[in-house]
Symmetry: C2
Subunit: 364 residues, 2 copies
């Protein structure tokens, strides 16, 4: 836990959406800017699957955060005006209670005894943090990727608790292509003998499976068009074919290798499995019996949906579906389709495309 991270433990039972409970869960969060006297200038940011609460640097922790170019003085989520909150997702492994935490009822690590996690639980835990901060109504809920679905869960379960909602490269629910990809990523980890049905040695985790899963992730987070421009058929170095036994040959393979090396080991394998499945399980239509009914439960004054044409994980037609659904009950809904070639990850790496859209929405 970094020096900027704050921690709160909610004493008592936290009932999980699909059954079971957590005893006195802890949530870790960071904040930037100042809550005003009216307590109505807060923006809650929901992250994708893997980030911590460290979305941006601050005086207390000057290391760059995962959305460093988006949160700060003079930036789109302008901390001169807004009080920005990022919570490490329930079920994650950066301070918040998850499968890698100790179950205080047993004294053992949860591992697979952790109840089924849903994005409704992730949203509910964040809601507790917001209430803990004395905030009745948020200025906005902003969610990226999985976080967009967590944001929808937040809004649908607490109508009127935020004035606006911003969905970035997300959807009302996952479609089978994305489910297949994530299911295969989970199978890669579970297939690693070191996973040991979730009971892995924490000093010797299933890194082989985690590396494979990360590489598949990168294949779906970026776009074929970007890689064609960036790598083409470039080779890493001269290869002596005579001794060449399926090592890295092309630059794109080297890129994936570097990405896998950076990520693996930084994230707990069981936490990954739980959050990945939560992304598959979420469906706005479960709130009311249909998507239409789900949208009707939202009480938003304004909404913004941003999508990227080259995103294969949350494709552009899902952005349109989400915007149309929001529009039915929130007249001030805007859809922005960006033509970035960086795919799903554009919101992390193509700031020039995203910055003006977010600035326009918040008047920053």
């Amino acid at each position: 836990m970094s020096s900027a991270a704050k921690s709160v433990t909610f004493e008592g039972r936290f009932a999980m959406h699909r059954g079971g409970h957590l005893e006195s869960p802890t949530l870790v969060y960071e904040t930037w800017g100042k809550l005003n006297e009216a307590r109505d200038n807060a923006i809650l940011v929901f992250s994708g699957l893997s980030p911590s609460a460290h979305a941006a640097s601050s005086e207390e922790d000057q290391s760059a955060g995962w959305w460093e170019d988006m949160i700060g003085s003079g930036l789109p989520l302008d901390t001169d005006r807004f009080y920005v909150i990022a919570v490490n997702s329930l079920g994650s492994c950066f301070g918040s209670t998850g499968p890698a935490s100790v179950n205080v009822e047993t004294g053992d690590l949860y591992r697979l005894s952790f109840p089924v996690l849903t994005l409704e639980d992730v949203a509910e835990a964040a809601y507790l943090v917001v209430r803990h901060l004395g905030i009745e109504q948020l200025e906005s809920v902003v969610g990226c990727s999985m976080g967009g679905m967590s944001g929808l869960a937040y809004c649908v379960r607490h109508p009127g608790s935020t004035r606006s909602f911003v969905s970035i490269s997300s959807a009302t629910r996952a479609l089978p292509f994305s489910i297949a990809v994530r299911s295969l990523q989970r199978e890669m980890i579970r297939s690693d003998p070191k996973w040991r049905d979730g009971n892995y040695d924490r000093s010797d985790p299933p890194l082989v499976g985690q590396r494979l899963a990360r590489k598949l992730g990168m294949i779906t987070y970026r776009s074929a068009a970007e890689w064609e421009q960036r790598f083409g058929r470039e080779r890493v170095t001269f290869q002596d074919d005579s001794g060449y036994k399926f090592k890295i040959d092309f630059s794109v393979e080297s890129y994936l290798e570097n990405q896998a090396n950076k990520f693996s080991g930084a994230f707990d394998a069981n936490c990954y499995l739980y959050l990945s499945r939560a992304s598959d399980l979420f469906d706005l239509a479960e709130h009311g019996g249909s998507l239409q009914a789900g949208f009707k439960r939202l009480e938003l004054e304004r909404a913004l949906v941003i999508g990227v044409e080259t995103d294969i994980l949350f494709p552009i037609h899902q952005q349109r579906e989400l915007a149309e659904g929001l529009l039915a009950t929130c007249a001030d809904t805007k859809l922005v389709e960006l033509d970035s070639i960086k795919g799903h990850d554009s919101f992390l790496v193509d700031m020039d495309a995203f910055r003006p859209v977010i600035c326009d929405f918040f008047g920053t």
Copy 2:
């Protein structure tokens, strides 16, 4: 080897394109229809990575082949008119010499001592079969997927040896998205402890890795649009969440599981690695120093390029590139873009779309 399969062993050294050699390799092939007296009615079919030479049924072998609806009396490759030849690729494991074969020079299985395999080698081996059958010039070379690149290798190395060329869902060379996918599939197999650096027990092969690789294959062979229509968010059965430990939940997961079960074990793991890498290595531009130079070496009277808009492995812009390149030296080149939603595999499963195009080309 089925009863319809014929086998020929080419005595002597077969020099491999990237160095090394095979001693007296064997090639297995099947034929349908009759070679006419002029010996000029033969069509050579190059398959994708995994099929055997059994492309269609015959009197000798009545089991359905991998292109059953395409080859036969009254079908697009009409055996009443044409003599159709399919060769099990060099490097494969259905009778032709490959990494799973015995090296006659050592008496041991080749395994990873097999030289680096290229599609030029696959093409050259098929050329030997064609010459063995007493054919100087083919009516056509038809290649699907990887087979389209094998077909290009055949044409570029033996200009004038075929009058026409048909490329189906293939390309001049692989782009980084496809390379990344195949590289990851190979890594999945290599990461299975049972692979043992290629020295696996043949009765206990690296099936876990092979199953993962097959599932990733299926994700790229079909399309997100097809799965959205076919599976949506349908569940397999009622799941009791309390005992639910990352088993199959969605129908699309069950589908992948069935596909993996069908395929795994049927294909030798090392052969898969060699053929997969050969698909990455092929580049028409290596024949002459540029794509343009490569195309100039082809001497075709007619060409047909068929592609599918939802194909993510050999995307539609590669079909256009291939057709434009062919057109530069072969005025009678036709490009057909099909809007099938079945992705790369359309040529195997969407016959209604492909049949009329092939019929039109061959006047069948």
